[in-house]
């Protein structure tokens, strides 16, 4: 039985290498995170994660990133739709540019967005007289989070649009449905799981984002500070259990987001098999 399972050589070597590397880079350090979180005691943990300044950062990191994820849901869906369905000059270029937030270092994105939206600069110059301040406000945080999460929605939705069978739309049209009815009742339902998966992935990325936000946010306590910044400031005070406590809380929250995304993905796969 076991010999049949391993026809090709290299099982022990490849799995051994994988597990060793995984332990060194991921498992052991994560164990340290859990260990340090508990080493400070329950009291210290609770006081750290419910500190009013830290709680204010949850609203920014978890609340504003939700707004950014929803914005990406709308524009990402639209972009995926036109990439998959329309022909227009420059489409391939735009498609390639979609992944720019993946490739551009976050610090570069951070200073570029800050320069773009600062008062007296590029766009800030036009927005300022209208009373819209972007840089060093929560809107700036929203802009950075939108930038960073955009590719996730497009990448999640576009392949599903591409593999939608054309005949169901034709059938709907033949049966007298208007285009809007076809979109609403035939096209959108199978796309919904992929869209939600993309939104959740964009959300998860924005929650943990650091580099692009710290420049544009100005890091104003109770206003634009993000949760990862709290970890950094605890570390600067050598409060390891405190930093670990916040890190552990973020890790748990991210785990929930990922689990929700996985559930949606399997739901989506089941959904797609039916059609």
């Amino acid at each position: 039985m076991s010999t049949r399972r391993h026809i090709l050589p290299g099982f022990h070597l490849s799995l051994g290498w994988t597990l060793t590397w995984l332990s060194l880079i991921v498992l052991l350090p994560l164990a340290a995170l859990i260990g340090k979180t508990t080493s400070g005691g329950w009291q210290h943990f609770w006081e750290t994660v419910t500190d009013s300044e830290v709680v204010a950062t949850y609203w920014v990191s978890f609340g504003i990133s939700l707004g950014a994820a929803l914005i990406n849901g709308v524009f990402g869906f639209l972009a995926a739709w036109i990439f998959a369905r329309y022909e227009f000059p420059g489409r391939r270029l735009l498609e390639a540019a979609t992944d720019l937030p993946f490739a551009l270092p976050t610090a570069v994105a951070g200073i570029a967005l800050t320069a773009l939206y600062s008062p007296n600069e590029w766009l800030g110059k036009w927005l300022e007289p209208m009373g819209v301040k972007v840089a060093f406000t929560q809107i700036g945080v929203l802009v950075a989070m939108t930038f960073i999460g955009f590719p996730f929605v497009v990448r999640a939705v576009q392949p599903v649009i591409a593999e939608l069978p054309a005949d169901v739309e034709e059938a709907a049209a033949c049966l007298g449905a208007t285009r809007w009815q076809t979109i609403r009742l035939v096209v959108l339902p199978p796309l919904l799981p992929a869209l939600l998966t993309g939104i959740i992935m964009a959300y998860g990325r924005a929650v943990g984002e650091y580099g692009s936000i710290v420049f544009i946010s100005g890091n104003i306590p109770y206003k634009t500070e993000i949760t990862p910044l709290m970890i950094v400031s605890k570390l600067e005070q050598y409060d390891y259990p405190g930093a670990a406590a916040i890190g552990f809380t973020m890790l748990a929250a991210s785990l929930l987001i990922v689990l929700a995304g996985n559930r949606l993905q399997s739901w989506g796969n089941g959904f797609r098999k039916q059609i």
């Binding site: 590397w21 350090p29 270092p105 994105a109 570029a112 320069a115 939108t146 970890i231 890790l251």
Partner: protein, 312 residues
């Protein structure tokens, strides 16, 4: 404006074709507005930031850029970025091949859990990627006292920066190989085995050529992230210019010192890297799809041929 979008059926050309378009696509005005909205979004969020970087770098003339990169601290940061990449990327590339080989070639319990753990660095905050190593090797970390007694520095030095970078780029190569190798199957490897090839011979002469574009794709993404990483590295670096600053950290230092032209100069260099990465990535995707589809076709051919009567 009308010629901007290549309509498959220009309005009024043929009544029936027009009807068909109306039934299975959106009206022309709506399509045009969708494209415009997306273009504006791309312009505001993706293209303008890039323009700002290059404009900021060249604002004071090309001489300033040359002066920036003649600066000792900036050069040192370039060297540090390259050094961290040269260690972290090959390490994760070898890991990626080993992990993909183990996961796609064998059945073993706990495979799903292993895949989930490999993906973990993708969804945690990069700051946590730095934090966990500080907790292990930092002054008050678990191994801190022992390391201090032996005068070994990991945190606030190169080893910590390499570790944090390795963490955030950990899944890239493995993730780009696993679906590809799953689709390709391993009949050719088995054939090589029956013909007497050894394990490394199979890897080098059968598997690696089959997966080279997927591998290339993973390595490029891994490299871009490794050279551009900010959050994780900023936690474990002492941030001393000319000593432990990588390019992204040097950007922060210059920016906070109001040396904007220099900051944008370094940023422009990293943006060029990002653009090259995007171009190579698009190429790799295109080639990878071909290999992927060839693999699927081969698998399909096998499943169709196997039960046919003239084969037996």
């Amino acid at each position: 404006m009308a010629s901007f979008i290549d309509f498959r059926n220009p309005p009024g050309s043929d009544r029936r074709a027009d009807l068909h378009v109306r039934a299975t696509s959106e009206p022309a005005w709506l399509r045009r507005s969708f494209v415009t909205v997306v273009l504006v979004f791309f312009l505001l969020f993706l293209i303008l930031p890039l323009v700002v970087v290059f404009q900021g770098a060249l604002d004071k003339g090309i001489g300033t850029v040359a002066k920036t990169f003649a600066d000792h601290d900036v050069l040192h940061a370039v060297g540090m970025t390259l050094l961290v990449g040269v260690i972290a990327v090959p390490a994760n590339a070898v890991f990626g091949i080993a992990a993909a080989w183990a996961i796609t070639r064998f059945r073993f319990p706990g495979k799903a859990a292993l895949q989930a753990l490999i993906d973990l660095p993708l969804w945690v905050s990069p700051v946590i990627g730095g934090l966990i190593y500080v907790l292990l090797y930092g002054r008050r970390g678990y191994f801190g006292p022992w390391l201090q007694a032996h005068d070994i520095r990991i945190i606030f030095a190169l080893p910590g920066m390499v570790l944090a970078t390795t963490f955030v780029t950990f899944p890239f190569v493995a993730r780009s190989l696993i679906p590809l190798m799953q689709a390709q199957g391993f009949e050719e490897e088995e054939a090589a085995l029956t013909l007497g090839a050894g394990g490394f011979q199979i890897l080098r002469r059968i598997t690696l050529p089959k997966i080279r574009w997927g591998f290339f794709y993973g390595v490029i993404l891994c490299n871009a992230r490794a050279m551009g990483e900010f959050g994780a590295v900023s936690v474990v670096s002492a941030k001393i210019s000319g000593r432990t600053n990588t390019m992204p950290l040097e950007i922060e230092r210059l920016y906070n010192d109001y040396l904007f032209a220099a900051a944008f100069g370094v940023a422009a260099a990293l943006s060029l890297l990002a653009l090259v990465t995007l171009a190579l990535k698009t190429l790799a995707e295109w080639q990878n799809r071909r290999q992927f589809e060839a693999g699927q076709r081969a698998q399909l051919a096998l499943t169709i041929e196997a039960p046919s009567p003239d084969q037996t």
